[in-house]
């Protein structure tokens, strides 16, 4: 995926564009796969109940399938978000040394291990907070789906 974006970078000269493309590429497929698995795993019983109550195709999709696969949608969003953060830092390290990536490179060149480690810790925390935020949102929006 990363190498994919290197391939795209000549096509997208703007720094932000190529970085956004990398983030997109890295999170898009994770989300796609997770949501597809969720839709496939919808309890067939739910759909049968919907059908026997005379729901048409549209209602089956919006009222049964969508709510039933929401937990997977959230899982996909979480995985995608973490991947996106990874992609962001990768892009900043490799093809446009700006922001945190540039800071890391600078610290590495100075052999400033403390500085380097602090950026890594910051990134860890960012990932954790992002995950925690989405988890909290999931708990509020999908109270019926309690995670073990």
């Amino acid at each position: 995926m990363l190498s994919g974006a290197i391939a795209m970078s000549p096509a997208m000269p703007g720094r932000t564009k190529s970085k956004a493309a990398l983030v997109f590429l890295m999170s898009f497929f994770e989300i796609l796969v997770t949501v597809a698995a969720g839709v496939r795993n919808v309890e067939p019983g739910f759909l049968a109940v919907g059908r026997s109550f005379g729901a048409d195709r549209w209602r089956l999709i919006t009222r049964v399938m969508l709510p039933a696969s929401l937990p997977f949608v959230f899982a996909g969003l979480r995985i995608g978000l973490v991947r996106g953060i990874n992609a962001m830092i990768t892009a900043e390290l490799f093809f446009a040394a700006v922001n945190l990536g540039a800071l890391m490179k600078l610290n590495a060149q100075r052999f400033d291990m403390a500085g380097l480690l602090s950026v890594i810790v910051l990134l860890c925390l960012l990932g954790l907070i992002a995950q925690g935020g989405l988890k909290a949102m999931e708990a509020r929006l999908l109270p019926w789906h309690v995670r073990g």
Binding site: G4, I6, P10, R40, I89, M104, C124, G127, G148
Partner: protein, 255 residues
């Protein structure tokens, strides 16, 4: 079934046609069309540098990957079955699994240099947390009823472990190996692009060439390797444990 294969082929054909069209539209310098890449690809195969670097890189990746599996699987199972281990290690696991490997690369270049161990360690760190997490979810989700049956038939803990827990873990082991492999291959390329050595280095240097054909060719090989490795692992499962076929195809990798 044959209908499905026909649709698959149609999907591939549409993607390839789109590639050709976009390539023609954007020009070789930005996004080489399929026809140009294929010609270049045959040349690269004949030249031998691409495959040589690939074999060398994969060998180093394999060391890191095998280490990740050897370390990750037992710890993951331990965490899944023991509350104490889970409480001790889980915060670290969830923190490290969200840490980008790319961010560790500059640090490890300083610590390990750019030799064999640098790449092996990066690959190890990229794969081990995913292997651990996947098998952890598997170990936690074992039906308690199965264990109860074992207990009521008086099976000692060791027998319960290898007669009940291990077989129940089997599909998760394969999933963990597959997820780990994907991350290992990615990490290999990221690490090598940073130090401009091996296959990743080849990709990096190719990105400075005037045409994007060699670059896309290198990516093509990488994709083929990933898909082939995945298929081989899946095939291995089918031979070793045919009864898990269904479960494997349907269950999503947990995170």
């Amino acid at each position: 079934m044959s209908r499905r294969i026909a649709y698959n082929l149609a999907g591939v054909a549409i993607a390839l046609l789109l590639w050709e069209a976009i390539g023609r539209l954007m020009g070789e310098a930005l996004f080489a069309p399929l026809s140009v890449v294929l010609v270049e690809y045959v040349k690269m195969l004949g030249d031998g540098q691409m495959l040589g670097e690939l074999v060398g890189s994969l060998r180093q990746m394999l060391v890191g990957y095998v280490l990740a599996c050897v370390v990750g699987l037992p710890i993951g199972v331990g965490m899944g079955r023991s509350r104490l281990l889970d409480a001790l290690l889980h915060p670290w696991l969830s923190m490290l699994v969200v840490t980008s490997v790319a961010s560790l690369v500059p640090l490890f270049v300083i610590v390990f240099g750019t030799g064999f161990w640098f790449r092996a360690v990066i690959v190890f760190l990229a794969a081990v947390w995913y292997v651990m997490l996947t098998i952890y979810h598997g170990a936690r989700g074992i039906e308690p009823r199965l264990l109860d049956v074992g207990r009521s038939f008086g099976a000692p803990p060791l027998t319960r472990f290898h007669k009940i827990i291990l077989p129940a873990l089997y599909p998760y082991v394969v999933t963990a190996l597959r997820i780990g492999l994907v991350h290992a291959i990615r990490a290999m390329v990221v690490a090598e692009m940073f130090i401009i050595l091996g296959y990743g280095g080849l990709i990096y240097r190719a990105s400075y060439s005037l045409t994007t054909a060699p670059l896309l060719g290198l990516l093509l090989t990488l994709m083929i390797v990933g898909v082939a490795a995945n298929a081989a692992l899946q095939r291995g499962t089918r031979v070793l444990a045919p009864w898990y076929e269904d479960k494997m195809g349907r269950s999503a990798p947990p995170l």
